[in-house]
């Protein structure tokens, strides 16, 4: 992000025993500030934190991204809601949740008490609903950022996702930025199901986004060959997991490249999509992500977020990085 770092030593066969793991400064750019380390949880994959807190102390993660908070309690979609696919899964859960009022009264204080740094995923069916939730989060302890989930269906545009075009993406981010606490960053969560993710990224940054979360799930579908019907009650659903990692890395790389060239103003990117190990996370970092979020892997391994952090630290040390920030975008260095 800030120019080309010193070339890292070429360690083709790193010797883990020979490296000092404690020496890596994991401080990660986040909005205009920093977090103690780059690892978060992806929205919808860690609930409001209570379940995964049984497997790792939440305060040790850089941040925890909540399930998407909407204005009112939502039941979500009927079952079946998920289906396993090769190296991934489909979900049509339907953004179920407790609603913003319950969240700020019961879930957020619980997270704050545990020292968790909370990136609150927010959505609404109208632009004003996004903005209203951002307003209700002003001054709440524990909140370190807002992530606007642009994949939410737009009530005023035939239920098409806000994030599907630059204009509606701009409207949401501008409205959230206006009402959100000015001290905390607003991230735009981008969908890959668009012609040009860079174009949407540019619109979001222009609207005032302090960071970009990339990527949301890809729209997919499976048909159950036993019942001979769609596998999900919602018919189509979001594809996640390692199966989508190459798509996610490509999106991060493209947008980071556009930032380096000046086509898009520079803001930190939170990379996500199929991260299961420290090396998966490192791929995103090298492609240009200043943070990484662990999503579907949590279903396989609830202790994955903290494990990924430890593995990422080791992977950075093995490659000679003493600062996490130096690895960000390293894949873009001149050959």
């Amino acid at each position: 992000m800030d120019g080309t770092p010193e070339p890292a030593p070429d360690l083709t066969a790193p010797d883990p025993a020979a490296v000092d793991l404690t020496a890596v400064d994991l401080t990660a750019p986040f909005g205009g500030g920093t977090l103690p380390n780059p690892v978060s949880t992806a929205s919808g994959c860690a609930g409001y934190g209570r379940e995964i807190a049984r497997f790792q102390p939440l305060a040790e993660l850089g941040s925890i991204t909540t399930r998407t908070i909407m204005p009112h309690p939502r039941a979500g979609q009927p079952t079946p809601r998920t289906a396993e696919t090769p190296s991934g899964m489909l979900n049509a859960v339907g953004l179920p949740g407790v609603g913003v009022e319950h969240f700020v009264e019961h879930e957020l204080p619980w997270l704050a008490e545990r020292g968790a740094r909370v990136l609150v995923s927010v959505a609404g069916e109208r632009v004003e609903e996004f903005a209203e939730i951002a307003r209700l989060l002003v001054g709440r302890p524990g909140v370190v950022g807002i992530e606007a989930n642009l994949a939410c269906p737009n009530h005023d545009n035939r239920g098409l996702a806000f994030g599907g075009n630059p204009a509606t993406s701009y409207d949401v981010i501008a409205a959230v930025r206006e009402t959100a606490d000015p001290r905390i960053p607003v991230y735009a969560k981008l969908t890959p199901d668009v012609t040009s993710v860079t174009e949407i990224a540019a619109a979001c940054v222009k609207a005032g986004a302090d960071g970009l979360s990339m990527i949301n799930t890809l729209l997919g579908m499976a048909v159950d060959t036993s019942t001979m019907r769609p596998a999900l009650a919602g018919e189509s659903g979001g594809l996640s997991g390692p199966a989508i990692r190459p798509v996610a890395v490509r999106c991060v790389y493209q947008v980071h490249a556009a930032m380096r060239s000046g086509a898009v103003p520079q803001v930190p990117i939170m990379g996500m999509g199929g991260i299961r190990s420290g090396l998966d996370a490192l791929e995103f970092v090298l492609a240009g992500a200043s943070g990484v979020a662990v999503g579907t892997a949590v279903f396989n391994d609830p202790s994955a977020p903290l494990r990924v952090l430890a593995e990422l630290r080791a992977a950075l040390a093995e490659r000679g990085f003493s600062r996490f920030a130096d690895a960000v975008g390293h894949a873009h260095r001149p050959s």
């Binding site: 998920t82 396993e84 396989n300």
Partner: protein, 284 residues
């Protein structure tokens, strides 16, 4: 919520039992906290496995002295079939105990335990607990075929009151497990019925128990993706103590429920009066 542990358990034994396999795992720190109805969630394959979702299995037996738990694996799903390729000594990533166990009233209890297929696996430790508390049990073990029955001998070792049903008549009474249910409840003077098996069976058992004025508890068997309460795959519509219907998670609030709380006829739908249904477009 139960406080589960995640560990690399060691596979000690994998033995065919009728249509199923019994899997015995060494899992230190788990067995002493298992109550009847708890389950375990197993990862399939190693860290590179293409099957990401955990498979949930009722804990059949838990032996604190031997530090083991045993599960019954039905190989009808590709993940379970993969688990059957494991060999003794192999590590198995296990999270247990999970879920809410069967509720048991204080004092001696006379209960009828009704199983469909390998649902019986959850009921034998429950039967032992009821008997240890001075109560008594009867069983109805039902399955489609004789091969899919599990544990008839284990039931008979606990009580003479064992009825067997198969849909094809290959063993016991020809018909479903619910066929002799009302009569069996009266015959043993049951105060409660506990059931485990397919959803249709649990719905019918609950209906008959309600008609007979007997409390009905059940352990649901439903697909889960994580087993720990985050993925929200396993939700069922249920009536809360406040009278409000909500989606509840089979993996956390269940798998053991008071059957009369489950809205069996609304499974697979979002009833219009469910908490949060309005936001999904249901009219108020």
């Amino acid at each position: 919520m139960a406080h589960p542990v995640q560990l690399q358990a060691e596979l000690l034994e994998l033995t065919p039992v009728g249509a199923y396999h019994r899997m015995v795992l060494r899992a230190p720190g788990v067995a002493e906290r298992v109550r009847p109805g708890h389950f375990a969630a197993l990862a399939v394959g190693g860290p590179e496995s293409s099957m990401l979702l955990r498979r949930a299995f009722t804990i059949h037996r838990a032996d604190p002295a031997a530090e083991t738990v045993s599960l019954l694996v039905d190989a009808r799903d590709r993940g379970a079939r993969e688990l059957l390729r494991y060999r003794p000594g192999d590590p198995v990533d296990l999270i247990a105990p999970l879920g809410t166990a069967f509720p048991l009233p204080a004092g001696p209890l006379t209960a009828l335990l009704v199983a469909g297929d390998h649902g019986s696996a959850a009921l034998f430790p429950l039967a032992e607990l009821i008997r240890a508390g001075g109560g008594s049990v009867g069983f109805i073990l039902g399955a489609a075929t004789a091969a899919r029955l599990y544990g008839v001998d284990q039931a008979q070792a606990l009580t003479p009151d064992v009825l067997v049903t198969t849909e094809d008549g290959s063993s016991g009474i020809k018909g479903r497990a619910t066929l002799p249910l009302a009569e069996a409840l009266k015959a043993i003077g049951a105060e409660a019925v506990y059931s485990c098996g397919p959803m249709e069976l649990l719905a019918e058992v609950t209906g008959i128990a309600t008609d007979e004025g007997v409390r009905g508890f059940c352990a649901v068997q439903t697909d889960m993706a994580c087993g720990i309460g985050v993925c929200l795959s396993c939700v069922l519509p249920a009536v809360g103590e406040d009278g409000v219907s909500r989606f509840v998670r089979a993996c956390v609030e269940g798998p053991c429920f008071d059957g009369s709380r489950i809205r069996w006829s609304d499974l697979g739908s979002v009833p219009a009066d469910l908490y949060g249904a309005v936001a999904m477009g249901a009219s108020e």
